[in-house]
Amino acid sequence: MTSFTDPDFQCGCRTGESSELDENLEILRQVPAFSGIPIEKLRVYAYLSRRICCREGAYLFHQGERDDRGYIIVSGKARLVRQYDDHTAFLETLKEGDFFGGLALLADIKRLFGARALTNLECLTLDRRSFQKLLMQFPELAIKVLDAMIRRIARMEEKLLSMRYDDSSISP
């Protein structure tokens, strides 16, 4: 932890008239993977998800780590980084409203890439156990959610594979 207190970065601790749950609900509705879910059920998703904050330069998770969450960026920017034996590849820069890391919601596998905060970052996250509980509770939604999520993951993987041979983003 390199930086010290930043009075503008008061993430998580809020008081005011709109509840965090309502705000989370708004964010989830903007994400394609979840936007098809009826609002009263999405409310439970919003209830179970949790905000996580990360300072500029710090990692949300590292490559190879067993992390069990999916992330949606609430504010700030993050970059996905893949480490190879001899070099590092920057995969994608993510911004507000982007959803990533969803594979961890489906199975207990090691991270294929790391995620680093480019600015002070606030994310909305859902952990695997909650996600599985939700799938069990609303089975009629499972296919819809899984479909959207797998599409998203497949697109990421495609990108990852094409990156490997694309020298433009490779740093020495």
Partner: protein, 846 residues
């Protein structure tokens, strides 16, 4: 052996002095009982007849004296009787328990624990009542009977013989009934046992019952026993009351004979009316001792049946006791020679068959094989947990079968796959083996409170290691972090560690000084002018910890003092409204999810209260304008005090309310100072908070939940500070005082195994037998233990390890691959791989 002692030998051989005293008192009492009869006669015949006031007073005084004496003696007899009886019961129980502890293990494989429990507790308990009176009761009552009978014969021999003639008839009938009663009673004991075994089993397997929803099946099984028990009890009461009936019937026949014969004689003039009346009253006095004799007879039969039933069950040869407890135990080198070893169960199933192997002192042998191959059994036989049937097991050339238990436990450390951890502290569990070493040779059983004598006999050099050795061992087996964490998460008892409080407060200040600013992101410190989002609303108001039960949540919500404070500061209405909002939002959200407690982790309303608050919410919706009334208002107040802003996200705390709470905080402190200065310990940077954990006290705040890795990072910093401030040992010690719970349930599987390993190693054994003792550990911990055994114990301690994971046995001197109770091949890891036999198959998983 204790199980062969007849019931009465306990009575004849114990407390002779007390029993003689009892007998003497009995004799005096019998006299004191008959004496009033004579006084009665003299009052009528002498005092009244001759109008002699002086003798009237004298006889009445004597009468009164005799009655008082008889009463007090009876009391004394009862007390003595029970004292003797229960003292004997104490001895029977303790010696039986001691005997059971020494019965070899296979007995317990077929004996459910419910059986042992019911035998020692309920079955034996009524015997105590009986034992005390076993001699005194029959003597008292026989003598009383004879005394009254004699007095009657003295009055009129013919009438006396006639009225006593009915007793022999009773004596002929009652034993017949009693025999049938005994038979039923034996059946009842057996049924009760099976039932308690069954209940014990079901409670142990409750997981399966709930998992399978097999309530009906279990109810049915139980009902079978319960109905059988009812049937037996019912038939027993038929006989019991039958005996009573016979008794009463014959007793009432007596006066009938007296009236018929006595009346006839009186009409004829050969017997006078006064004598007849006196006779009748004497006859009535016979009833009590006779009834007591009958009761005694029944109690005797019952006690006999219970006693023999219990003793028969445990009539199993116990292990031989050490005959020379004062000699010092032999130290073995750990040289093992096994030849032609056979271990059989159920008469002809050979679990071990012709096993032979040699292992030099300090060598390391791994036993491997598919499950059911007999590797665990072999380990247990080598540690004499089970006794072998044929062949030889020689440790240092001495036959294992004939070695004394004292030598064995001093030399062998045994760690089973599922070690048992006893209820108590972690430290007690670690030292269990060593403390046993100090006492294993002692013959004493504790029933007579002979502990002091035993301690004097104990060997001079205790085997219990000092604190440093224990801490060192904890470090070696990898339990250090666990213990430290347990210590940090314990609440400190201020009474037991007063010296630690100021030191911890100093560490708190250093912690804040050093990392406070940096950790502002991860920890929400207790700043007195900030609202705490990870602490509940109630604490945000009081900003302290309750020292009295009445101020603790949820009781504080009902406290008149607290409510008065809320009203004074305009907080009552906003808090109740907030509670209403919170209840309404939570109920809507979770109403349909109540079946799974998982969804209630971030809810201020636990699942069991959901209905309560749902009704409340519905009521407020139906009657929006009616006043709530105190019950509903308190319920909502309780809910809003429970609200944690960072956790319960269904509503936001209105900024108006937050401001009011912060303003009220110092006012509450002032009010308490005036009304009840001892009621709260307020959060102050300089004050230790008694009912918070050590970690929270050092943080003086709470971990924020929204930062990845916060817990680990903060704990690491705290630990580094503890090390620097030299207070680590104290925290470790508090961790060692952790109560592990029944069967060690509050420890993880890995922690239990590490504890058991440390427990065995602390004994400093020359032979260590591990039965898959590291199977529950993660790879890193397993490797750590492997290194420890390899580097520190090779050559010093003979190791026999049953291994399931084959990558852990690479370094062993020898590996024995087993199949169907036989050693198929033995050699080093490489040798066995080259041979391409069953070890090769095991490694390559075919």
């Amino acid at each position: 052996m204790i199980t062969q002692k007849p019931l009465f030998s306990w009575i004849f051989r114990r407390y002779a002095g007390l029993q003689l005293l009892l007998l003497a008192i009995v004799l005096v009492m019998v006299f004191a009982r008959v004496f009033p009869l004579e006084m009665q006669k003299r009052i009528v015949n002498v005092a009244i007849r001759f109008k002699d006031y002086h003798s009237l007073y004298l006889y009445c005084a004597l009468y009164l004296g005799a009655v008082v004496l008889a009463g007090s003696l009876k009391y004394l007899i009862n007390v003595l009787q029970h004292y003797i009886g229960h003292k004997i019961l104490l001895e029977i129980r303790s010696r039986l328990y001691d005997h059971i502890l020494h019965i070899p293990l296979p007995f317990f494989r077929r004996t459910p624990s419910g059986m042992v429990i019911s035998s020692i507790t309920s079955e034996l308990s009524t015997i105590g009542d009986f034992l005390g009176g076993a001699l005194a009761v029959p003597v008292v009552n026989l003598l009383t009977l004879i005394a009254f009978g004699g007095y009657m014969i003295h009055l009129n021999p013919l009438l006396a013989l006639l009225s006593l003639a009915i007793y022999p008839v009773e004596i002929a009938i009652i034993p017949y009934l009693q025999n049938r009663f005994n038979r039923l009673n034996r059946e009842r004991i057996d049924t009760t046992r099976t039932m308690s075994n069954h209940i014990g089993e079901v409670v142990g397997g409750m997981q399966e019952v709930h998992g399978n929803g097999s309530y009906t099946i279990e109810n049915r099984k139980f009902a079978r026993f319960a109905r059988e028990l009812f049937r037996l009890r019912y038939r027993m009461s038929l006989i019991k009351f039958g005996i009573k009936f016979v008794n009463n019937f014959f007793q009432s026949l007596g006066p009938f004979i007296l009236f018929l014969v006595g009346g006839y004689l009186t009409i004829q003039g050969s017997f006078d009316l006064g004598a007849l009346v006196a006779f009748l009253s004497a006859y009535e006095k016979l009833y009590d001792p006779w009834k007591e004799l009958m009761d005694y007879y029944q109690a005797l039969q019952d006690a006999r049946v219970r006693y023999t039933r219990v003793m028969e069950y445990f009539h199993v040869e116990a292990e031989a006791r050490e005959d020379r407890p004062d000699r010092s135990p032999a130290r073995l080198r750990g040289d093992l020679e096994v030849s032609g070893l056979v271990y059989t169960v159920d008469k002809n199933v050979r679990l071990l068959d012709q096993v032979s192997l040699d292992l030099p002192s300090g060598g390391q042998l791994a036993l491997v094989g598919f499950s059911g191959s007999g590797k665990s059994t072999l380990a247990m036989v080598l540690g004499r947990i089970y006794n072998y049937d044929a062949g030889q097991v020689l440790w240092d050339g001495r036959e294992l079968k004939r070695m004394s238990k004292v030598d064995l436990v001093h030399n062998i450390g045994f760690v089973p796959q599922h070690p048992f951890i006893f209820n108590g502290t972690l430290m007690e569990n670690l030292l269990y083996g060593c403390e046993a070493l100090d006492t294993v040779a002692l013959k004493e059983t504790a029933w007579d409170g002979g502990g002091t004598a035993a301690r004097e006999n104990a060997p001079q050099s205790s085997r219990v290691p000092d604190r440093e050795t224990v801490l060192n061992m904890i470090l070696k087996v990898g339990l250090f972090d666990d213990v430290l964490r347990l210590g940090l998460n314990s609440t400190l008892s201020a009474r037991r560690h007063p010296e630690l409080l100021p030191r911890l407060v100093r560490i708190r200040q250093m912690f804040y000084h050093q990392w406070g600013e940096e950790l502002e992101d991860l920890v929400e410190f207790f700043h007195s002018d900030r609202y705490l989002h990870y602490t509940d609303l109630g604490c945000n108001l009081t900003f302290g910890n309750a020292n009295r039960h009445i101020y603790e949540p949820p009781h504080i919500a009902e406290q008149p003092l607290f409510q008065e404070f809320l009203t004074e500061n305009g907080l009552m209405t906003p808090l109740v409204d907030f509670g209403k909002n919170l209840a309404q939002r939570t109920v809507t959200l979770l109403e349909d999810l109540r079946d799974d407690p998982f969804f209630f982790q971030k809810s201020p309303i636990p699942p069991e209260e959901l209905d309560l608050y749902r009704e409340l919410v519905e009521w407020t919706e139906r009657n929006p304008l009616s006043p709530l009334g105190p019950v509903r208002r308190n319920r909502l107040l309780r809910l809003s005090l429970r609200f944690v802003a960072g956790e319960h996200k269904m509503v936001a705390l209105p900024s108006e309310l937050e401001k009011k709470i912060l303003e009220a905080r110092p006012l509450f402190r002032e009010k308490m100072k005036r009304k009840d200065p001892e009621g709260f310990t307020f959060y102050r940077p300089t004050e230790y908070i008694g009912n918070e954990t050590i970690l929270d006290n050092i943080l003086f705040g709470r971990l924020k939940l929204n930062r990845p890795g916060a817990v680990e990072k903060v704990q690491d910093l705290v630990v580094s500070l503890l090390g620097r401030e030299d207070i680590m040992d104290e925290v470790m010690e508090i961790g060692l005082e952790f109560q592990v719970g029944s069967s060690g349930d509050r420890l993880s599987g890995g922690q239990k195994q590490k504890t058991a390993l440390a427990r065995a190693l602390l004994k400093n054994p020359s032979i260590l037998i591990l039965d898959e003792a590291t199977a529950g550990l993660d790879n890193a911990s397993q490797a750590r233990i492997g290194n420890l055994l390899e580097n520190e114990y090779r050559g010093k301690c003979t190791l026999i390890s049953v291994a399931h994971r084959l990558d852990t046995v690479r370094h062993f001197d020898a590996i024995a691959a087993m199949k169907a109770g036989k050693i198929m091949e033995m050699g080093s890891y490489e040798e066995l791989l080259e041979r391409k036999g069953i070890f090769y198959d095991l490694v390559h998983g075919s």
